[in-house]
Point group: C2
Chain length 338, copies 2
């Protein structure tokens, strides 16, 4: 990040009519955006939610409360503007783009649906690798391509988003491995499984780890063995955003698993991440801590789709409004700290 | 609250294309608004921040990092649209009204400044009561009157806000008394005092409590002995909002002290309060817990003015957008939980 620009932003923030530092994370976000854009006057032009959709072979183990057909059904729901993310993105004046990187059913890509399918879902990771190393790389690149296309179209603030029945399962595996946390601490109820379902889910993940023996020193190995196509694409979109110096708001548990993959591939990418909400999924706080991020929203949400990140757009814009529109002590004739 | 309307809102929320309950606090807010407005289709028309300004005799004990002239200077800054609350309210499409209930210096009330002064600041509570019982009642009524006027003008969502050099000091006293917490746990650095200042502030509050012996069974006694005029007015605005069935977002530490006064005068008023952020002030979480509220924003802010509450307006509106704009499982042809 551009330290000089960040210093200028800090100076400006400290000249505004408020106790120094009293706007907390809003001030940090303003500084981060200054550092990313390399200017004391960072601006948001266009905002997009980059939603990645994929299916999971592990769904065959009964790890989710919903059937797998819901993935394509929700893709169409997003196309028709009926999902939660459509509503929240519209409120934030942001566009939603949903990329099929690996749905298990045919999808007709029209409207805001982008077709970059790598495979018809992952394989059952409880029995072998979820995908090949090649497929994981392709899905990473698909996410990066979408980000690149949208940057060229003028977007300069992104949110990550995920869609895929069963995807808290690979995310839990990834978070457990990268944060070195026991499965008991990171496996949750996803869309809403019961106690027996939770035990079954934990066992399926343990099996996947035992069978595949992912090497945590090699993020791609973890990703292809116990990850997901949409998780790979999320990691790719984050890496491309970072490479192009565009800030990206990281949504909930699945997105944060993707962010952990990105951070393990390119540690400097964390500087371009903006945290959003703290999910109900028990592993989310561990995953965020692993990235050095702290959630700014505390809404007990567990929906994914980028919903927490879209809500955070308001806060990012608030940070810039503060920076650009508040009066200084000098202008307003207000006395400073004695 | 209207239980039937809340049931209808819950039914609608459960029919929307998302796992039940997965939007957490957004769903709770939608239900609360349905219960308050008595309809399955709650709507926000106009939003206002009701900022109350007052000075504090205890400032003479050196409890604040800023001189007392800053209170009127900030009132004018708010009038001239230069303060943080102006910026954040504008972003949220809300109006700011600042009421002088007890600034220690003359104020020319024009524009969005409302003149309802009860006294030229409180007296030094380390030496006797901050104000008379009569003055506390008058300030409560002043806050209620402003809320009533704005409700008549068509506003149906409020945020509380405070302005007053030294006002974390009486707020700490109030929170300590009503939550039965030791001063060590609830006294913080306000606008930014150092370690010695913190010890001095704690001692001044202890003195105020020792000298005045407030009776916690009598909320007005606490308010007049160790409170503030703007804290009284905040409590009054909350009570009027509740009486008129208008939801009110409670800002940070000072506002929550006012909310505790309101809740002790009329326990049912808590049903009309919407929590906002968790402040850096150490007593804030205790104060919120005393009201049964949990913060939805975690931004490490400590500015007051209603800034955290204004940011929360976006979330309240998000809750209603979700309720009114999302597709149902039936409409979107999405399969339900298996």
């Amino acid at each position: 990040l551009d330290e000089a620009a960040m210093g200028q932003v800090q100076e400006r923030l400290d000249s505004l009519t408020k106790p120094q530092g009293s706007l907390g994370q809003l001030e940090q976000i303003a500084k981060q955006l200054g550092g990313i854009q390399g200017t004391s006057n960072p601006q948001i032009k266009k905002k997009a939610v980059l939603l990645m959709a994929g299916d999971h072979g592990i769904a065959a183990e009964g790890v989710s409360a919903f059937p797998q057909e819901v993935t394509p059904q929700m893709v169409y729901n997003i196309m028709n503007d009926g999902a939660a993310i459509n509503v929240l993105a519209r409120q934030a004046n942001a566009d939603v783009f949903c990329t099929d990187v690996g749905v298990a059913f045919p999808i007709e890509a029209t409207g805001n649906i982008i077709q970059k399918r790598v495979a018809n879902g992952t394989k059952n990771m409880a029995k072998g690798p979820a995908m090949s190393r090649q497929e994981a790389l392709q899905a990473l690149l698909a996410g990066a391509e979408v980000a690149q296309e949208k940057i060229q179209a003028g977007y300069n603030l992104f949110a990550t988003g995920d869609l895929g029945i069963g995807n808290t399962t690979p995310s839990s595996a990834i978070v457990s491995l990268f944060t070195n946390s026991p499965l008991e601490d990171v496996v949750g109820r996803g869309t809403g499984i019961d106690d027996a379902g939770l035990i079954n889910k934990r066992q399926a993940i343990q099996k996947a780890i035992d069978v595949n023996q992912p090497n945590t020193e090699d993020a791609l190995d973890v990703l292809c063995k116990v990850g997901g196509l949409e998780i790979a694409a999320i990691a790719g979109s984050i890496l491309q955003a970072a490479a192009s110096r565009v800030p990206i708001v990281v949504d909930g548990f699945i997105s944060t698993a993707g962010a952990l993959v990105a951070a393990n591939l390119a540690p400097k990418s964390t500087a371009f991440m903006i945290p959003s909400h703290g999910s109900v999924e028990p592993g989310h706080c561990k995953a965020l801590a692993g990235l050095g991020l702290e959630p700014v929203l505390n809404l007990n949400m567990r929906l994914g789709e980028g919903t927490g990140a879209a809500l955070t757009f308001h806060l990012v814009e608030a940070a810039l409004h503060i920076l650009n529109e508040m009066s200084t002590f000098a202008d307003a004739g207000v006395s400073e700290k004695s």
